[in-house]
Amino acid sequence: MPLTKNQIAQRIAQELQSGFYVNLGIGIPTLVANHVPKEMAVEFQSENGILGVGPFPEAGKEDPDLVNAGKQTITPLPGSSYFDSAVSFGMIRGKHIDLTVLGAMEVSETGDIANWKVPGKLVKGMGGAMDLVASSENIIVAMIHTDSKGASKLLKKCTLPLTGVRCVKRIVTHLAVLDVVEGGFLLKERAPGVSVDEIQLATEGRLVVPKFVPEMIF
């Protein structure tokens, strides 16, 4: 069974390690925060200027001066801090963030990512995505393997305008976990019940298939 979006987030949460500072993009990545094991010390940064992002506030306790990069109202956790946008992106550029999780429209077999612009469609802007992908050393892309028409989003070469080059390290889709390696997408894990052939069929870029590809474990 292909994963739900929530399961993709759940699988990505397995990549977290105690002590990680993490930046989560909008969409599936946001859901990762719901799957952090209670005993794990992880802090979430939101690039508009908070470290230690906590849960949404109780109804009636929303504070207009406390939002995340998605402009949603949030709460701070003990040990949190606020800072300006230059410091915030300094954390990102200076490699102080240990893990970045982003959505993508396309990823290439060399780790290029396109996630901000579709020619002919109205552009909303890159926001902080270009800073994040150019700076982070540990980038996981969370996405559905194929687009709404069934076409692969894991390509030899991106067709859309790029957000960054040679930066994606790992991809978690509804079908598989793949690493970007010399030679293409290395198939690391299959979604439960999904065959290597199905993944091959959904992958336009070069897929490197080891002898044994385990199923994901939740």
């Binding site: 300006d84 909303k124 890159m126």
Partner: protein, 232 residues
């Protein structure tokens, strides 16, 4: 103590002219200079070039300036959420230059701090790098980015004193401190204006030297863009 307090928003905006370049603090609707934006929207000035992270929503924030057709060019990073902006962009009424958010922040800070240019990795290999100078440092490629140049910075703080010192609150800090002193004239509106000496000098986020005029704002709406709660 050098006195920065002015009484009215009009005094605060004295000298502003059509065609000028303005920096506006805020992230979405969070930490925006509401009083200054309203006054500008109602003024006779127009054809502004604006530098701000976002473009507000249709009826609030920078959206008020787009609604009043005051902006001809926009430097921003994320410009979704505003249909009137989209309409003007598609019809060619306005021009937009998109800047990675960290680069936008650092270009403001560079202007403030007298750094004419710096290198950043953001945008390498993308269309942002077109016509930018590239250079390798320690095996990685960076883009040369230059400081913004602008005429007025319009910012919003939580507390301020008559010497122009500012304290921001929560994530309403965002771009506001970086724009102070980054233009020829910096105007700050605050929710609470106190006499000099009442703020702890150790807790000031922006020293008064970066602020030219400060005034007590009125009737803050502080609209929430995406109200999210634990049990919606």
């Amino acid at each position: 103590m050098i006195h920065k307090k002015v009484e009215t928003v009009n005094e605060a905006l004295e000298g502003i002219q059509s065609g000028m370049t303005l920096m506006l603090g805020g992230f979405g609707l969070c930490g925006i200079p509401e009083n200054l934006i309203s006054a500008l929207a109602q003024s006779s000035f127009e054809n502004f070039t604006c530098i701000s992270a976002n473009v507000g929503v249709d009826d609030f924030g920078l959206g008020l300036l787009f609604g009043a057709k005051k902006i001809k060019k926009m430097y921003g990073s994320y410009v979704g959420e505003n249909q009137e902006f989209e309409r003007q962009l598609l019809s060619g009424e306005i021009e937009v230059s998109l800047v990675p958010m960290g680069t936008l922040a650092e270009k403001c800070r560079a202007a403030q701090m007298g750094i004419p240019a710096f290198y950043t990795p953001a945008g390498f290999g993308t269309e942002v790098a077109l016509e930018k100078e590239l250079r390798d440092f320690n095996g990685k490629t960076y883009l040369l980015e230059t400081a913004f140049q602008s005429d007025f910075s319009l910012v919003k703080a939580w507390k301020g004193d008559e010497a122009g010192n500012l304290i921001f609150r929560g994530t309403a800090r965002n771009f506001n401190p970086l724009m102070c002193g980054a233009s020829s004239v910096t105007v700050a509106e605050v929710e609470e204006l106190v006499p000099a000496g009442e703020l702890d000098p150790n807790q000031i986020h922006t020293p008064g030297i970066f602020v030219d005029r400060i005034f007590q704002g009125k009737l803050y709406e502080k609209r929430i863009e995406r109200r999210t709660t634990q049990n919606p």
